[in-house]
Symmetry: C2
Subunit: 262 residues, 2 copies
């Protein structure tokens, strides 16, 4: 019996009978590290290439919960900003038949099933998620799945399984579009951050440089960031103020119809 295949299909312990085999979720988890926008890639077993963290939806499970579960299994974090951005439904995007054949072994019989028991079309609902890289390193969850993972620069994505390269490009587009509508960058930053840091993150996501003075004025005019008394310490120059995202002010700004595009 091929344990890897079983693990892949059975979602790390969930019996196959309790899975919607025609419905999967794939998560594009973005983070900013070393000045680059990165996405999490996994390799459940050495025989497979890199792919997005994802999996089949449980019977009776909400899609959002499914995405949340998949990310929690990998990061240990329960509350991650999630955005369902697109459904990938190309009939040929994933084939159980090809998948089992590619394994070049005893195929579906591993699961005591005929290949005809598997659906011919598997949908994937694409989610993008945002997380502060530093928050990840502080997490030590015992639930976290042990599988090989890397953070790949969005500008240098390796070849991926299935249609996952397409999913990442669509996620990137959706992230940038959403950023014109809502100030979601704060999900990538720690609770307290400086204006130059906020600006840097915008620049990294949008892949273009912004003017410092007008950026600061715009952010302050939105009035959704609370300036703290503290400043960032230990810098070799003037210490920048720390800011914090202010939910109540943000709600007010939304009601006023503030345009959050930069």
């Amino acid at each position: 019996m091929d344990t890897d295949t079983r693990i892949f299909i059975e979602q790390f312990g969930k019996p196959i009978e309790q899975l919607e085999l025609n419905l999967s979720v794939d998560c594009v988890l973005f983070t900013v590290q070393k000045g680059c926008l990165k996405v999490l890639l996994t390799q459940p077993a050495p025989k497979w290439g890199w792919m997005l963290p994802g999996g089949f939806v449980f019977k009776n499970e909400h899609l959002d919960k499914s995405a949340q579960r998949i990310l929690q299994q990998r990061t240990g974090i329960a509350e991650i900003y999630l955005n369902q951005f697109k459904i990938f439904s190309e009939p040929s995007r994933f084939s159980f038949k090809d998948f089992f054949n590619a394994l070049d072994e005893e195929k579906a019989s591993y699961l005591n099933r005929s290949i005809h028991d598997f659906p011919t079309r598997v949908l994937s609902v694409g989610y993008f998620a945002l997380v502060d890289f530093k928050a990840l390193s502080r997490i030590h969850s015992e639930e976290t799945i042990q599988e090989k993972t890397i953070w790949a620069d969005v500008k240098k994505i390796p070849n991926l399984q299935f249609d996952h390269e397409e999913i990442i490009q669509a996620a990137l587009l959706a992230l940038r579009t959403e950023l014109k509508l809502k100030p979601i960058v704060y999900n990538l930053l720690p609770e307290k951050f400086t204006m130059p840091e906020l600006q840097r993150y915008y620049e990294i996501i949008l892949d273009k440089s912004l003017d410092r003075s007008s950026f600061q004025k715009r952010m302050l005019r939105w009035d959704i960031y609370e300036r703290l008394e503290e400043r960032r310490e230990g810098v070799a120059h003037k210490r920048p103020f720390l800011y914090r995202f202010a939910w109540e002010r943000y709600k007010l700004a939304c009601e006023k119809g503030v345009n959050f595009s930069v």
Copy 2:
């Protein structure tokens, strides 16, 4: 045998074996008529209430094609602006069991199948579509399905089947959000239109009044509408100029990063 049920399930002629019974598409077709934003509702048979035009996806059919087919069957128009905005996946949103029971007849046996042959969860991919009301009245397609339909004011939606009321509200939100990103209103208008008409359509969609002078200046500054030599004739006052959406200019504006929010 219940012909209506067969027609409902079998998608007007498509054998049940060729349908993805766990995957449906529902279309929220918007139009502007008599100063109101309206959506198309259908009633395939008197025993059912109002619902959105929709149906099961064919095996091997692309989702976009499916939505296009469904709308073409109802409107006769082949090219309609389409936007896949959300997936409705609540496990209990549609149940074949409840559906057949509600019919209070010989249930699934109509289709020579056991209820266990039907999936327990049916997804719906939501599309919203935009069409010029006048274009509809000029269409005389022989393919058009004969079923009872109405145009319902979005402010006065009757009780609908399944989760279709929720789908309409989500579509309305998606339409308004999309309108901040792209000038998609032109899909609701005829090829030639005046500035006051364009403004009126924005006001109807966003459900708020806009200033005439600043609206006109904004539209002209985007430089995506071509002013024609013609004017609207037969009006009891100064004749307004006619404009036309200019694709090439629009593409240039997108490259320049024009913000299309009003």
